[in-house]
Symmetry: C2
Subunit: 332 residues, 2 copies
């Protein structure tokens, strides 16, 4: 009901019964206007993401799980260890409380899995028809070592660096598309949505050699690579036959006319690594359940400045551009 | 267009041309997945708020100004000095780019006025009819002195403490109601929306004596006081004839059947202060343009445990309850 967002007693009861119950932790429970915690040594990383995925439930996750993982992964991408999240809910009047509870519960589960707290939040309710069920914003704070040499830095990318993907691409986008088309029973694709601090914890320091990481969500691997190479004095070559794509994802992409290179991922990281360390990194990634399909898909070179070029499976080459239109709206 | 939120080139151009242009600062321009900055000494405060105000333009402000001030004030309320904000936009397909620019510009103006940076952001676009024009989430980080004795602490509230309001109440809520009813030309009420670090900077430390602060937004002064007194061993008495309400606000409230005590403020703070320091605090507040009408509206006492009681202007008393229904949806 609208009054659940009014600042009065119904809102306070909702917060107490639902959010405090699931997100139970000492920082949140102070119920102050802001959460307060000791500052870290080193550097602070700060990021935000709003989630408007449609539908809100899809194979392998829901908007709550996605909201927690997505923001964690934005922190992990800059080399930070996630510390805490905020959660802001915009709810459509009439949205079922039990669906909200399922989603809040899945946020709590994912946060616990990733070892972080949801420490502050906000709830707004808008009239029926003024938003689509539920939108969630999560912002996140993470800790970075003060030592600059241990931080990923895109400026350090250079010719010879290897480009690693931590697993199969396109799963999240195609799982959401399957659910949107009511094909989730027919097509067996699960979103890869996962908190990547679990996979990358430790690997960023040991064996070292990580120059840059990117979380290839909206726009997919292609757009992330294009963004990194833009106006740079180097080029990127990727090899089509090395890019891991599950057969079901490939097939569904072909059916709908999508290129998996442009489809969103929510549990994958692109890693630019020093050539000498790249095999070690891939081996360590493969030893973790979230990194089984990790592999090197390409390299940085001195040719084709500012461009991403793909060597195709049949031996040709083509330039990979940034996503220009709008392939998959509301995928996250 | 939907493609402005797709992760492709249209989104990157929008971010570069609009957000980077207005929010120009060294942290944001790194265009990383997260902003990175040195950690502070002391404590960190962290808060979040989503803004769904309807209409998005109203006398005295717009959704952008509100989003910046609201989150700043949540940090100020816990005694923190605001440091930086994130901004997450959910935009309805077809929303005019020039309106977006006006709003982004007003966020930049307000942030500059308050002396803080917007360091990280996110943009989502949803189909026409799937949100109402524009929703903005801002999350904020602030710095608190490590010294516990200098932090406001609701647990320290006790009998004799004075309750100060920094100015007239109900302006924001009634300005939005005027705009919603297309009466902004007829009724002269401006939102009080303002960043309160400007007013409170320094006062929290000198003269000292501030025990607790609350930002009486949704639910108004009444709901904030009721929340603070709930299940406590003390009561609160407020005096109707001392509560500052502008005649236009009072008149419009009477017209619509609202009680200004329950109407949202966006540039006012409720301060619980040590009795000995309260006159000094009021005097210092009054010396600032944002605190001209500051005054003491009541006190904490040992009677009526857990209740807020109002001495009415005609000499009676009544219990002030928390807002129970839904007086003004989408006021912030």
């Amino acid at each position: 009901m609208l009054s659940h967002g009014s600042g009065g007693s119904m809102m306070h009861n909702l917060i107490k019964d639902l959010f405090f119950n699931y997100f139970n932790n000492p920082l949140l429970n102070l119920a102050n206007d802001s959460a307060i915690f000791p500052s870290f040594k080193g550097l602070t990383a700060f990021t935000t993401d709003s989630f408007v995925v449609d539908p809100i439930f899809f194979p392998g996750g829901d908007i709550g799980k996605l909201a927690v993982c997505g923001t964690i992964n934005d922190l992990v991408a800059v080399g930070a260890q996630p510390y805490c999240l905020s959660a802001g809910f915009i709810i459509e009047e009439g949205f079922p409380l039990n669906d909200l509870e399922t989603i809040v519960s899945s946020m709590a589960t994912e946060a616990a899995k990733a070892g972080i707290f949801i420490v502050t939040g906000d709830t707004k309710v808008v009239e029926k028809g003024k938003c689509d069920k539920l939108f969630i914003n999560t912002s996140g704070i993470g800790v970075l070592p003060g030592d600059k040499t241990r931080q990923p830095n895109p400026e350090s990318i250079g010719a010879g660096d290897q480009i690693i993907i931590t697993g199969c691409i396109g799963d999240h986008g195609m799982a959401v598309m399957a659910a949107r088309n009511h094909l989730e029973g027919t097509i067996n694709i699960q979103s890869d949505c996962a908190p990547l601090n679990l996979l990358l914890h430790g690997i960023t320091e040991n064996p070292g050699g990580i120059k840059c990481m990117r979380d290839p969500t909206r726009g997919g691997v292609a757009s992330s690579l294009c963004e990194l190479v833009k106006d740079k004095e180097f080029g990127i070559t990727i090899h089509e036959d090395r890019i891991p794509v599950k057969p079901a994802v490939k097939g569904f992409c072909d059916m709908l006319g999508f290129d998996p290179l442009y489809v969103a991922n929510e549990g994958k990281m692109l890693i630019f690594a020093n050539k000498e360390k790249s095999e070690d990194i891939v081996a360590r990634l493969k030893s973790h359940p979230l990194g089984r399909e990790a592999c090197c898909i390409g390299e940085v070179n001195r040719e084709n400045h500012g461009k991403v070029v793909m060597k195709t499976a049949i031996g040709g080459t083509r330039v990979v551009g940034m996503l220009s239109g709008d392939q998959l709206p509301r995928i996250c």
